[in-house]
Amino acid sequence: MAKITMREAISQALWEEMEADPSVFILGEEVGVWGGSYAVTKGFYDHFGPERVRDTPIAEAAIIGAAIGAAMVGQRPVAELMTINFAFSSFDHIVNEAAKLHYMFGGQFKVPMVIRTVGGGGRQLGATHSQTPDAIFAHFPGLKVVAPGTPADAKGLLKAAIRSNDPILFIEHATMYQTRGEVPEGDYVIPLGKSTIQRPGKDVTIITYSKGLEISMKAADELAKEGIELEIVDLRCLRPLDMDPVFESFKKTNRAVVVEEGWKSFGVGSEIAARIYEEAFDYVDAPVKRVAQDEVPLPYNRTLEQEALPQVADVIAAVKEVL
């Protein structure tokens, strides 16, 4: 199996789906001539042409609104939002339109649309360009929220997302485009809404996704040296949320730490912890811990930024607290 980067895996999925289905097209800021602000669509414009790789005005409501409309009349647009921070300029269209149109009109409208976007901090971009607001979007029924943590998952989930008949927010992490991993070649598709065990273990269950997976894997390597075996569950999709592997693992370890990059309050960790308490209370041997971002707007200064973001050491400390 080829070892490729997250960027290559995403690019491969897009390319293959565009080759396979003429109704798939890309629109967004700088996706064409420029080649994508994170270079994911490099080479697409020359190969697929300006009709299928459309450079848009800087107008997020128009980008998402137009993608919704095109999807409703039978196309499969993949809209790129340069960063998830710009999703707020099109928040209304994502949560008030895309997420509701199928239900609110009694099932007659379909919105087979993917919004590819980039989230996360760690690149010294300041508070408005470094957010991880994944949980906000996961709050809305009708929307699907996908956030892969490995190149293989990125490819398989993006292919599934493009083929889905529902609106999907596909969140890539800004600091993970160079992450390498083995990715199956050809038509590799992973069903949406399935959590998975990324590392088996017996002592503590880590529930995480996206960047949190990278941090947790490193923590697991460190703790293994001390004889502590973490079992890491990667959620991969925040909605629909598959809790089965979480409960299965927790019933074995009776201890859990949730690792996410977003803020702690009202976050993914809050949701996971609540579900564990509600549905697996008899198996709880220690309080569920949450490792998350400090509750500050992320600062520019490198040291301060890293201080606010969750680190490997934070995961290790949390694991030791629940043991």
């Binding site: 009709e51 609104g65 409309g69 095109a70 409703m72 009349v73 009109f105 029924p141 889905s164």
Partner: protein, 309 residues
């Protein structure tokens, strides 16, 4: 067209009664006074042309050919309604009639309409998207993003501003830097026209031309001047306009104007009266249908959240 205009008037009047009886809930915005706008406009479309509008949508839905039964049933929240009772007054649609809603967030459907036109252009189809909105929607960013995109990509969309002079209770000149809305199209290099929306024939002729212009050469903005005889919604105290103003407009009743026009064309009064009697019968039946229709169930509550199985 006469049948349609009278049908809209009667459905809305009956709807207002049912609202007052508590049988219709939520927000309801009546189309009384504005009937000529969508009647003339939609009569001018080809079957492949898509229509999308804002929340004042009952009349538009009727003109697209949705049976009054389904509209009344939706108002009463029944499963036989256009949206299976889940949309209500502001969210009616029927894709089989090329009516794409009924959208309640002011201006938000304009980028979506641009998207319909994009999807059709991308698919090399000759559909035109007819997107209706009020004067109030032209002050929100969505309007400008959508108009700009439509012109930049030359999308086949007809922008139709139903200018009824008030965005809720705020007069257009108090809210908009230019009160002649068509001028906003000029900034986007877009051809435009302003017509009298109380005269259905004038609306029809202008729409016919505008739709074919769009099909041939890209986006166009049509401003149709009109007036709503009732409040913005059912809960409107109407402190913002004088009764004399409303009365003056009521003298320009679009149905009356069209009736006079038809009689001038030697159509007998008895024929028009018969049309009205047929409308009354249809409306009575639609209420009976809606009242007799079943309520949605708990299973319906969880149906259609996602399209994937």
């Amino acid at each position: 067209m006469y049948y349609q205009m009278v049908l809209i008037r009667r459905v809305e009047e009956r709807g207002a009664e049912l609202y007052q009886q508590g049988k219709i809930g939520g927000f309801m915005h009546l189309y009384i006074g504005q009937e000529a706008v969508s009647t003339g406009l939609i009569a001018a479309r080809q079957p492949q042309d898509r229509v999308i509008t804002a929340y004042r949508d009952h009349g538009v839905a009727l003109n697209c050919g949705i049976p009054s039964n389904q509209i009344m049933a939706e108002l009463l929240g029944k499963v036989t309604g256009t949206s299976k009772g889940k949309g209500g007054s502001m969210h009616m649609a029927d894709t089989s009639k090329n009516f794409w809603g009924g959208h309640a967030i002011v201006g938000a459907h304009l980028p979506i309409a641009a998207g319909f036109a994009l999807g059709d252009q991308y698919g090399h189809r000759d559909n035109v998207t007819i997107c209706m909105f009020g004067d109030g929607a032209t002050n929100i960013g969505y309007f400008h993003e959508a108009l700009n995109l439509s012109k930049a990509w030359n999308l086949p969309v007809l922008w139709v501003c139903e200018n009824n002079l008030y965005g809720m209770g705020t007069a257009v000149e108090r809210a908009s830097a230019v009160s002649e809305i068509r001028q906003k199209a000029v900034g986007y290099g877009m051809p435009n026209e302003r017509v009298n929306g109380m005269d259905v024939m004038e609306v029809y002729e202008a729409s016919k031309k505008a739709i074919e212009t769009v099909r041939k050469s890209g986006p166009f903005l049509l401003e149709i001047m009109t007036y709503r005889f009732r409040g913005h919604s059912m809960g409107d105290p109407e402190r913002y306009r004088k009764q004399e103003e409303v009365k003056k407009w009521e003298e320009n009743d679009p149905i009356g104007i069209f009736r006079t026009y038809l009689m001038g064309k030697k159509i007998k009064e008895a024929e028009l009266d018969e049309i009205e009697a047929n409308v009354d019968a249809e409306v009575i039946k639609s209420v009976e249908f809606a009242e007799a229709s079943p309520e949605p169930t708990t299973a319906d509550l969880y149906a259609d959240i996602y399209a994937d199985a």
